[in-house]
Point group: C2
Chain length 434, copies 2
C-alpha cells in the first residue's frame, strides 16, 4: 500500500472551530489517514513513498456535495430566468428526452472535472443512465453515491424497479469501494404512496438507502395536503420511508412536527441554497433543523439550476442566506457552514464514521488550498476566510481515497480537452433538437 | 497616444442581452474606445502599437464597484459572526482607532490588487486618511471615486469639514482624470440635519457630489421616525441633499414614496447584497427600484463585512437574492444583473456617459475572461454563464483607461509580495492592540 506524507500545512480538521494545526502533518497509508498532528507526529517507522510539501496551504477534508444531477452540466445556462413549469415542459424535459447514454457519461465527466477543480471529493447523484454515471465516476477517481431517479407513474415506473437490482449488483461497493448505490424515488408528487412502498420493499431487500426530493416547493406541500391531508415529510413517513437510511434533498417547506420526525428518524438532509434561491423555491430552515439535531449537508443541485457545482460558493451562500432570512447575523457561523460542507454531508450520506474530518482511520479525502491570494490576506481567521472569502480556484491539490487526483490545478484522471470537445458537440446536437 | 487592438474576442457590449459580437474587435486610442465591432471593423488607417489576441475569451466592460471601504481589507475575517453593536464597539472601532495613515495606503493597495484580479476597474470608496487611498489608487492604475467619511458629532465633525476642500483640490480630476472626489457624510444617524446642511453647502461650493449610507437597517428607519418623524430618504431630501448628485449605499428599507423620490431626484444606488445578507440588514427592493426607474449599481461594501471584493460573486448573489426574496424566478435576470455591475454602477456614479459599456467614445475599461473552464461549458448563453457560473479567477486581462493593468493574471502595477508582507505585519500590529 502506498504511503503519502503531507507536510507543512495548516491543518483544519473540522472537529471544532479551533482544531487548527499550524505546520501540521498528515500521514496516509493506502486509502486511509493513519495520523494527523503537528510536525513529526507520523507513526514511528512511517517511511512515505512520496512527501507533499504543503507549506502556505490549508489542508482540509474534501467537500461532500450531497445533491446533484451530474449530467445536467450539458444543460448549463441553456434555459435560465424562466418560470418553473415553462422551464421544465418547454426546455428541460424535451432536451432530456433526447439524451443518449454516452451524453450522460460525458456530462458526468465534465461534472467530475469541475468538482475536483473546486475541491469536492464525494457527491450524491440522482439521474438516469446511471451505469454511465458510474463509469465516469470510476474514471475520475471520485467517490460517489448514485441513485437511479424513479418516477412512479407511466411505463417508466416499472422499468425503474426492474433496472435497480442489476445496478446495485454492478456498482454498489465497486470502484474500490468509492461507489455506493441508493434507490432514487424522485419525490412524493411523482411517486404515489403505493409506488413508494414498492421502492421501500426493494431497497430493504437490496439493503441500500434512499435518495429523494422532499418539500422543495410550496406547491408540493399544498398538493400533498390536498391529496393526502399530510405534509410531504409526514406522507413519506407514513409509508415507512424513514425506516431506511434516507438522504432528503431540499426540505425547504417544513413545520415543527416535520423537523421533529426528521431528527428522530435520523433523516440526512441535502440543503441546496443556490438552487432554492435561483428557482425561488424558498429558504430551508437550516438553523432550526440543526438545533433539532437533524444532520444537514450541503449540495449544489444540478448545473441547470445553479449554474456551477462550487461548494465553497455554496457554503458562503448557505451562511449568508440563513443570516438574512432569520435577520440574525449570528446564524450559521463560519465553522458550522464548513462543517455542513464536509462532516455534515458525510453524516447525511451515512458515512460520518469515515468521511468529512481529517482524523486517524478516516479515508484520505483531502484538499489543499493555496493562501497566497489577495482575498486571503491578512491571516486573521481561517474559518472565516474559507467560508466568506475563499474561491474554488484557490484549491491546489485534491486527494481522494489516498490518490492524488489533482495537483497544481492539473486534474490527473481526466483529459480536459477531450471532455470539452465531447460536451460541446453533444450540447449543440441536443439544443438543435437531434 | 498609444493604440491597442483587441482581436478575436466574444464581445459583450452590455447594451442588451443580445449585443454579443463573435470574433469581435475593439480598437483603443489613448484612454478611449474608438470602435467596437466584428473582425475588420477598426477605423481605416488604424495601426495598433499592440494587438491582444483574445481568442476564446469574452470581452466586457470592467466592473464598477459602487460602495466599499478599501482599507478595511486589513480587518478581513478579524471579527465575524458577531452581533452588529458588539462587532462595531468591541472590535472594529477600537482597531480603526489604531489605524495609521500608511495602514490605509497598504490596505487600499491590497484592495486594488484583489479588485483588479477580479475584474473591477472602478470603485467608489468612503473612509478616512483619504489622501493615502488616493495615492494607492493612483499607483494601482484603477479608477476611483473617493469620499472622506464625515461624522457629524464630536470634534471629528469640524475636522472633516476642514479637510475636504484641500482633498478635493489635491485629487478631484487627478491621476489623469481617473480619480474623482465626493463628500461622504456617513449616514443620517451619524450626521444630524444641521450638519448635513453644512455638508450640502460645501459640496455645492466645491461642485462635487455626495456618497452616503441610507436606510441600511430597520433600526435606522425606526430611529429616524422617532427623532424626525420621517424616513431616512425623506429626511435627507427635506434638507436638500438630493439637489446634488448623490450615491446612496444600501437603501434596504424603503417605502413606495421613498422609491418615488429617489427616481425623481435621480439618486444613484449602491446595492450591496452580500453585506446586507451577512450583517442581516435585510433585502433591498432592487426589482421595485429598477421598475421605478432608479439607477442601481452593485457594491461589495468593505472586506470586514463581505469578506471579499468579488463583483462576479456579488452579481450572482444579487440575482439569486432577488429571486428568492420575491419568490419569483424571473426577478433580476442575468442581463439585468450584469448591467447593474457595469452600466448601472457607472450611472449611479454619474459616469454613465463614458463608463459601463463597450462603445465608441467610452473609456477603455475592458476585461477579458477566459472561457476554457469546466464551469463555462457547454457554451449555451454567455450572459447566464457570466452571472450564474463564472468566477473571478476566470478574469485573464484587465485594461483601465487604455492601459493594460493585468495580463495573464499578473498585475503589472502592484508588487504583490510587498503588499502581502506589509499588510500582514500591519494587521498583526493592529490586532495586538498597538
Amino acid at each position: 500500500m502506498g504511503k503519502l506524507l503531507i507536510k507543512g500545512a495548516t491543518v483544519i480538521t473540522v472537529e471544532s472551530h479551533d482544531s487548527v494545526i499550524n505546520g501540521g502533518e498528515i500521514a496516509i497509508e493506502g486509502r486511509n489517514i493513519v495520523s494527523v498532528g503537528p510536525a513529526g507526529s507520523a507513526p514511528e517507522g512511517f517511511v512515505p513513498d512520496r512527501t507533499v510539501d504543503a507549506s502556505g496551504m490549508l489542508a482540509l477534508p474534501g467537500f461532500v456535495n450531497t445533491h446533484t444531477h451530474a449530467a445536467m452540466t450539458l444543460l448549463r445556462s441553456y434555459a435560465d430566468d424562466l418560470p418553473l413549469m415553462k422551464w421544465l415542459e418547454e426546455k428541460i424535459w424535451p432536451l432530456e428526452a433526447r439524451l443518449e447514454e454516452e451524453d450522460v457519461y460525458w456530462g458526468t465527466l465534465l461534472c467530475c472535472l469541475e468538482m475536483i477543480r473546486s475541491g469536492t471529493t464525494t457527491f450524491a447523484d440522482m439521474y438516469f443512465f446511471m451505469d454511465q454515471t458510474a463509469r465516469a465516476v470510476e474514471k475520475s477517481g471520485m467517490r460517489a453515491d448514485l441513485s437511479r431517479g424513479m418516477i412512479g407513474v407511466g411505463p417508466e415506473a416499472q422499468q425503474a424497479l426492474d433496472y435497480v437490482p442489476g445496478f446495485v449488483d454492478r456498482w454498489h461497493g465497486r470502484a474500490g469501494g468509492r461507489i455506493t448505490v441508493r434507490l432514487g424515488p424522485h419525490a412524493p408528487y411523482t411517486c404515489p404512496p403505493d409506488y413508494l412502498k414498492k421502492v421501500i420493499d426493494l431497497a430493504g431487500k437490496l439493503d441500500v438507502g434512499i435518495h429523494i426530493h422532499l418539500a422543495e416547493t410550496r406547491t408540493e406541500v399544498e398538493d400533498m395536503a390536498r391529496l393526502y391531508g399530510m405534509t410531504p415529510i409526514q406522507l413519506v413517513d407514513s409509508v415507512g420511508l424513514f425506516e431506511l437510511p434516507v438522504l432528503a434533498a431540499h426540505c425547504v417547506h417544513l413545520n415543527e412536527k416535520d423537523i421533529e420526525i426528521m431528527a428522530r428518524k435520523r433523516v440526512g438532509v441535502a440543503h441546496n441554497p443556490e438552487s432554492n434561491m435561483k428557482l425561488a423555491s424558498g429558504v430551508a430552515p437550516v438553523t432550526k433543523m440543526l438545533e433539532a439535531g437533524v444532520t444537514v449537508g450541503l449540495g449544489t443541485d444540478g448545473a441547470a439550476s445553479n449554474n456551477n457545482l462550487d461548494m465553497l460558493e455554496e457554503m458562503r451562500s448557505a451562511a449568508l442566506l440563513q443570516k438574512v432570512s432569520t435577520m440574525d447575523p449570528l446564524a450559521l457561523p463560519s465553522f458550522q457552514a464548513l462543517s455542513m460542507a464536509t462532516a455534515g454531508g458525510a453524516g447525511a450520506l451515512g458515512m460520518g464514521d469515515r468521511l468529512g474530518l481529517l482524523k486517524e482511520g478516516f479515508r484520505a479525502d483531502i484538499i489543499l488550498i493555496e493562501t497566497r491570494k489577495p482575498h486571503l490576506f491578512p491571516r486573521n481567521d481561517w474559518m472565516a476566510h474559507l467560508v466568506y472569502a475563499a474561491q474554488s480556484a484557490d484549491v491546489h491539490t485534491v486527494i481522494i481515497d489516498g490518490n492524488i487526483v489533482m495537483e497544481g490545478r492539473r486534474v490527473l484522471t481526466i483529459d480536459e480537452d477531450e471532455v470539452y470537445d465531447q460536451v460541446q458537440r453533444r450540447a449543440e446536437r441536443l439544443v438543435a433538437g437531434k
